[in-house]
Symmetry: C2
Subunit: 388 residues, 2 copies
């Protein structure tokens, strides 16, 4: 089985792209990834594309052929939809296609356009990722769902809003010098605590923003990289996917996200590592409590121990395990269908040494990305390694 | 590389399922497929699920986890969206996952709920599969788009509405005794010609209906089938996918569907056959002209020769190449996200000998399915064979 290299990555700035169509955003990321890889677009054999809410935001489904055209490709494409984990799944299937020998080069990534909708529209459109019958009709939207998870966590394990505020403040600090981040500014713990409540115990700065953006990766086989003498030091060493019940009420414990554990266990086994080997991670912090749950589900902390990680400085840029050096969904932004690809693109830059925050982990060779859908009813984990 | 068997198939009746949720429909198909296969649902390692317009029809995206639960599975799931070819892509990727050794058993299929929408809503929702910027804003919906293709065909190759009427009449005849078909009644050539015009030259009976329904297949490796002594005589011998520009205006020739040719060429090579070896086919006849274009694109007829095939009796149940013995999308119905899986389920039944129309091809060992998205901007072709 061949290994898989990340030959190139491309991102749009995350934020508000007023007046730009989704295909325009994805073209920017795709062309940037192809240029970064230094490959011919004619060698791309398939586009694996993630998008969540295009039918609602742009009245545009069936986006794969459009994005193939926008990226200047001549190949088929496939759209993957797994809520906020759409691009994570798209990348995962691209990795597996190369490993199986079906293709030597794929383009994978995703796009979401969101800021063209009103706040009410975007909240309702995001709620489509929850269980319409048993959650949404009862009034649950995602801020409320994650607030329930935070309350369940506090009840079971302790912790408080200030612990969560440290997660937000940390990720904003990390985004400060990331040119792709939506918010390149500090947010203090006090500001987080003083912000208006969105869904108690979560306030405005516990939530990620609404974001337009796109991500793309050029993935190639080891053989292709060698034959074409590509400068592609980062490999995808492990991939895993997990699933859970969609509705929170069907979970055994609302404070836990076992789909992420399943995905991580599969990815660790695939890469031949354990959680202890991970030196830097990008996790799905759509809300601050989501980062805490991720740290525990991925095996970095025991249940109940992750809540204090940021406050203790263990996941800050100078901690033992820097988490979300990109700024995370929280500060970099969360164009939902693009996020999974963005995490891999950022981690690739971090490990290659050309990320503004690479200096936080100059010797790191093993990084993890964790992309989740809904209230972690879906999870995709990847392990990236600097190839020897 | 292992071969892939169809261990079991399941379908809901196609038609109007008033008051039934999408998850309920998919559960019916999935449980039926598992029962047909005689396997334990606990052995299913992944759900590959196709759905097109759930975010619009049921305000429900992120359907894979819901369908995993509805089917009683304990595994992750992935949603594929490729407009009306969604389930075709879902099956294709399931086949490739088994071949690559990643899994021994997957459930693949799809679901669409459509009749709960008004006619205007469903037309607008289907139009999401076209190019919003360059087609839909100019007034194009799918009846109009296929009417343009029919006009282009008539202009270039000749043919007339009566030729198309024979396609509709043939497929209605085939649906007569298919218990899953939405319309189990004859439609004469005269009735088709006398029907109200929808988009000239296409009339009401040139178009497939609006349909609720679901489809599912249990796919297993040859090894699994042998170890568990499954009665699974039909194998997926070939798979292919093709893509084209989304907008008709970007095509070199609106009368042709080269994405289907690309998909067929790949599937034929994969199966080690040619078009001449195919003995029976299910093709994507969302409109009568679409069946004609498919016959030519798949290599059964030269361009310009397919238009008369039904009229000459060559694709009728007693012809040399019976096409759409299920009734096709035209008469069996077209729940768009389920259709690709339905075609494979029907072909499996035909080749196994337990389809009401199996007697039309009692000795057939090679069948083809052709599933298309949009105006064939996406196409998926499968070759099914009775294993020796």
């Amino acid at each position: 089985m061949t290994g898989v290299r990340v030959a190139g990555v491309g991102l749009t700035p995350f934020g508000r792209h007023e007046g730009r169509e989704g295909r325009d955003l994805f073209a920017e990321a795709a062309l940037s990834a192809l240029a970064d890889a230094g490959v011919e677009s004619g060698d791309v054999e398939h586009l694996n594309y993630g998008n969540f809410m295009g039918a609602l935001a742009e009245r545009q489904g069936h986006q794969a052929p459009l994005m193939v055209e926008a990226a200047g490709l001549r190949c088929p494409g496939t759209r993957y939809e797994e809520a906020c984990a759409s691009a994570g799944v798209a990348v995962r299937e691209a990795v597996r296609a190369i490993r199986s020998g079906e293709a030597d080069m794929l383009l994978a990534g995703g796009m979401e356009r969101m800021t063209n909708l009103s706040t009410a529209e975007v909240t309702e459109s995001l709620a489509v990722a929850a269980d319409e019958l048993f959650e949404v009709r009862a009034g649950v939207t995602f801020p409320g769902a994650y607030a329930l998870m935070a309350r369940a966590y506090f009840d079971r394990y302790g912790g408080d809003r200030e612990d969560l505020a440290h997660v937000a403040s940390k990720n904003h600090s990390n985004a400060l010098n990331n040119e792709y981040a939506q918010y390149q500014r500090e947010v203090t713990v006090e500001e987080v605590l003083d912000a208006p409540t969105v869904a108690s115990p979560l306030g405005l700065f516990d939530a990620c923003p609404i974001t337009d953006g796109a991500s793309a990766l050029v993935l190639v086989s080891d053989e292709y990289a060698a034959e074409h003498d590509l400068d592609a030091p980062v490999s995808v060493a492990g991939t895993g996917q997990g699933g859970d019940r969609a509705a929170l009420q069907d979970r055994a414990d609302m404070a836990l996200t076992p789909a992420a554990t399943d995905a991580a266990d599969e990815a660790y086994a695939d890469a031949g590592i354990t959680a202890d080997d991970v030196e830097v991670a990008e996790v799905h912090d759509c809300f601050t409590i989501a980062e805490v749950a991720a740290l525990e589900s991925l095996g970095f902390y025991e249940p109940g121990e992750g809540i204090g990680a940021a406050r203790r400085g263990e996941t800050t840029r100078d901690g033992d395990l820097p988490v979300n050096l990109s700024g995370g969904l929280k500060a970099k932004g969360h164009p939902v269908g693009a996020t999974g690809g963005s995490q891999l693109a950022e981690m690739t830059r971090i490990l290659r040494g050309d990320h503004p925050n690479s200096d936080a982990v100059p010797d790191a060779t093993v990084g993890l990305t964790h992309n989740a859908g809904g209230t972690v009813a879906s999870a995709v984990v990847h392990v990236l390694e600097v190839a020897e």
